[in-house]
């Protein structure tokens, strides 16, 4: 079974073992999506800059 770093001393609510497990399972997917999103906005930013200069 996955051994997950327990919540900090003051995280007093029940995080739910299933909820922690789900996050670990989809971690790769989520970082991927985030990476895509930030690259997307970077590309968009540079494109706008290029067009502004040539406007």
């Amino acid at each position: 079974m996955i051994s997950v770093n327990g919540p900090g001393v003051l995280a007093y609510i029940d995080p739910g073992s299933g909820s922690l497990l789900l996050q670990v399972l989809i971690a790769g997917l989520l970082s991927g999506l985030f990476y895509l999103k930030s690259s997307f906005s970077q590309v968009r930013e540079s494109l706008t800059r290029v067009f502004k200069r040539h406007a």
Binding site: G6, L10, A11, P15, S17, G18, L33
Partner: protein, 492 residues
Amino acid sequence: MPEFVGAEGAASFRDPSGFVFLHQGVIYRQVNSSYQRDYEILVGSGLYQRLVDRGLLIAHEEVELVEFDRPLPSAYKFLRPEPVSFISYPYEWCFSQLRDAALLTLAIQREAIALGMTLKDCTAYNVQFERGKAIFIDTLSFEEYQEGEPWVAYRQFCQHFLAPLALMSLTDIRLNQLSRTNLDGVPLDLAARLLPFRSRFSFSLAIHIHLHARLQATSANRHTRLAGQGKSRAGERTFSRRALLGLVDHLETAIKRLRWNPGRSAWSAYDQEHLYAPVTLKKKEEVVGAYLDHLCPSSVWDLGANTGRFSRVAADRGARVVAFDLDPCCVELNYRRSVEEQQTRILPLLLDVTNPSPGSGWLNRERASFLSRGPVDTVLALALVHHLAITNNLPLIRIAEFLRHAGRSLIMEFVPKDDPQVERLLASRKDVFPDYHVRAFERDFQEYFDIEAAETLPNSSRILYRMRARGGEPSRQSIFDRVKHHGHRIRE
């Protein structure tokens, strides 16, 4: 002796970081010494100031207070947060209010991560509405972010925000009432069961609700080893910072994708259609305005506010108004309009006057009942009495008693039997209301109020009254302790 009043006691007594209490009528928050480090990071990192400047978190002052004579967890500091003018709860909010509360929570989480902190709880009760906007009130919800750890508040976010919003949007708008009985948000297995089958084809709902519910069920049965204080497997990042930011983004997209548009329900149409001749409506606005000028209330409850036409008459005169209505469509339209107008003095909320929010939670006091959040300076009860007396069979004297507990003065519209609206209500039922007429109305209300003014509206038989409550301040004592037995009045 510190008092715990309504919401103030709520997360407080469960949270080891500190608690909220009332002292000489002012709300304070004690920060326990166990929370010292996190509090210092909250302030030191600049997160507190950043959130307050953006209007996302309630501001507070650090104060000196005398120690209590009762043994309490040792205090590190005392905070005096800016007061919230009216406490409200998620089961009283319309769709867009809950949505704004969800987006606020995620925005705060994002800002927190950027400065090395994270939210340790995501209950909808951390959010209140002040000056027309959602604001986060739990200053002690933040803890230091440990990279590699999944988000402990994820489950709560899904139950308090994502599930109810999905249910309201895809199944039925009335399902926000599930929050009344489920104080920790809608259980995910229940949400998964109630959502339509097509919700499984939404990527975000499939993961954060359906799969999430499945994993909750299986984990509950199997023995999952959680290393309590130990570190995760050497060096391995089980949940990176990027994954956490991705999760916050994904949840935000999921929330934004959920939409609900009020259809033309019987009530919101009410305001638009010509139930009042234009001259009558205009006169009604004038008279209500004049009565308000006379009473000068600073706080108003508009009961049966519909889309808030008369709430605005009061707000324009500087009063803080809470606009209550039974119909989710009306509350939604009122709120959307308030947001558009950047209205700071109106709070639209869902309320059934015949079944108002009860005290609930621990000791039935964790969440305050509707009446305990009053009384206010003036109550507006316009186009309401016939719905209470006729539709709901409530004797006029009891309506008067209720209104007496709600406010110190009253602007009330009496709708007589010959009014087309009442005729419509009586069309399909037996007229068992021999006492529903002006004389009886005035007599019954005069048990509790002094009638200062009355004016009949033109082209109508409706009468607008201005009344002032008799006797002193209604006490906080339960209304049931003081109810007179009106069941058997001797007929004259």
